[in-house]
């Protein structure tokens, strides 16, 4: 009996299935527990990867819940690439439909934030623009130009206090989150990504800059504090070029 990799994989991902026929113990008997070694290796290594990717989610739901949830996730969404540093891309969508977690409606956005932090950690290094370059431009020229932001820079918007929840679970003695919408800017001046609370107007502006819009077209919100927003980006080494 030949064992196809299709049958082997199906057995690995479905603990209810018997081990494929043709896999043997040393005495020639059908392997059972020996096949479970592979099942277990796969489940443990993928659960470990998810724990490493979502430390805040894990803190919010507890170890036991997280482990059980990871077991469901890894069978529904096995990795599509050998780059385990990015495993878990489908977690926000998964959490939106995972019944036992629906009482914590902010979890999907926290997952989005944690995924963005990982991407920022592994993003390409970038040369920082000297802030003088902006000051040297006449106002009209400045408004007509585009800013290139570092590859690590991202914006995550939420109807929930994701910045406060993130801090409360990563920084000791942070204030208790208050239920309100929050937007987060992620930057990486050195090697460690940082989260910054920004208002909705700044989030809109920075998202448009990331998409390559000229500065003039990012000023759609009249509450935008442009000076403070640019100062934040420049201060966090988030701007790499003006063009």
């Amino acid at each position: 009996m030949n064992v196809s990799q299709e049958a082997f994989q199906a057995g690995i991902l479905d603990p209810e299935r018997p081990a494929p026929t043709g896999l043997c113990n040393p005495d020639g008997a059908q392997a059972t527990k020996r096949f479970d070694v592979y099942r277990n290796n796969v489940a443990v290594s993928l659960s470990d990867a998810l724990e490493a990717a979502f430390p805040v989610i894990r803190k919010l739901v507890g170890d036991q819940f997280f482990r059980a949830m990871a077991g469901v996730y890894l069978r529904k969404h096995p990795p599509k690439s050998p780059l385990m540093m990015f495993y878990g891309e489908a977690m926000p969508q998964f959490l939106r439909r995972f019944g036992p977690a629906l009482s914590l409606p902010y979890l999907p956005d926290i997952a989005k934030l944690e995924l963005a932090m990982r991407r920022a950690y592994h993003a390409a290094d970038a040369q920082t623009l000297d802030p003088q370059a902006l000051g040297a431009l006449a106002p009209d020229a400045l408004l007509a130009s585009r800013l290139r932001l570092a590859p690590a820079v991202q914006v995550v918007k939420s109807d929930f206090p994701i910045h406060a929840i993130y801090l409360a679970n990563t920084v000791p003695e942070s204030p208790k989150p208050v239920m309100q919408p929050e937007c987060v800017l992620i930057t990486r001046a050195g090697f460690d990504p940082q989260v910054h609370l920004i208002d909705a107007a700044a989030a809109k502006c920075i998202s448009a800059l990331i998409d390559g819009a000229p500065l003039a077209e990012t000023l759609t919100d009249e509450t935008l504090e442009l000076g403070a927003t640019l100062a934040l980006l420049l201060g966090q080494s988030a701007v790499t070029d003006i063009y």
Partner: protein, 284 residues
């Protein structure tokens, strides 16, 4: 087939599997290990700390790039994107060595993050040999292929593992990475002799040796079932098998692997010192 214009090969000294938590200790250790191994997949991001640390380490140590995700034993084709990522690392790092496993981990675009076994038949031999030739042609270098840990056997196999590996070497010109702990784990699990495996192994092709710790369990009949966990110290019978192996191979680059429950640097450095004694002919 492939050129040999790469940097100097790994030295016949102990090396360790690099873990980021040991970075500062490795840099300041007054009696440094001979070389470091990295898992290729952990350095496939675009930048940031992992790449910066690797660049810095590569200025001080010979680096061995060890792939854990290429799935050379796949029934299907190699993932061209993944092969391109390996080529990219190989190009900028120009490591002393590249190695991968006789195993598969990807099927139908799902990656299972484990080294899964394959039967040893004419069909799998042809497939594995063609994958290895593709890797060597892409990277422009010889690669080393590592023997796996086995927990079970395939009824359909027609080759012993050493014969299968010897035939792959003959067809592709690749070298072999002999994992002595894997030999011990497989022989215990399959009730064969680890010494007989070493006796049958094509030692002329060995370019590197791996050593690591394993866990102990039992199967449903009460027979010992060893798990290749890389989460413990190396046990004495594996050190003894290393002595037996070195008597056949002579000194080789010798890696200490410790990937789970990673200890303080000192514990790992002590294992490397024991490996150094074994390499100089003092029984480990």
């Amino acid at each position: 087939m492939f050129d040999q214009s790469h940097d100097a090969p790994l030295p016949a000294l102990p090396g360790v599997g690099y873990k980021p938590q040991h970075y500062a200790d490795i840099i300041k250790d007054p009696d440094p290990v001979g070389w470091l191994e990295i898992h290729a997949e952990n350095y496939m991001g675009d930048g940031g700390r992992p790449i910066a640390q690797l660049r810095h380490l590569a200025e001080r140590f010979p680096i061995s790039v060890h792939g854990v995700g290429l799935s050379i034993g796949s029934e299907g084709d190699l993932d061209p994107d993944h092969l391109a990522r390996l080529k990219h690392i190989d190009d900028w790092l120009n490591p002393a060595s590249f190695s991968e496993h006789l195993a598969w981990s990807t099927h139908d675009s799902h990656f299972l993050n484990d080294l899964l076994p394959l039967p040893y038949t004419e069909a799998t031999l042809a497939k594995v040999a063609s994958h290895i030739s593709q890797v060597q042609d892409t990277l422009g270098r010889q690669m080393l292929l590592e023997n796996p840990s086995s927990y079970l056997a395939f009824a359909e196999s027609t080759y012993s593992e050493p014969d299968f590996l010897r035939e792959i070497v003959k067809r592709t010109g690749c070298g072999l990475l002999l994992d002595v702990n894997n030999v011990f784990v497989s022989a215990t699990n399959l009730k064969t002799s680890p010494q007989a495996y070493i006796d049958a192994f094509p030692v002329d092709a060995v370019g590197e040796i791996h050593l690591g710790g394993h866990d102990e369990d039992e199967d449903e009949t009460g027979a010992p079932l060893l798990i290749d966990s890389h989460g413990k110290a190396i046990v004495d019978p594996v050190w003894a098998l290393l002595d037996y192996t070195l008597a056949r191979t002579g000194p080789k680059p010798l890696l200490i692997e410790w990937d789970n429950d990673v200890p303080e640097w000192g514990t790992l450095a002590d294992e490397a010192k024991r490996a150094a004694r074994a390499l100089s002919g003092i029984p480990a």
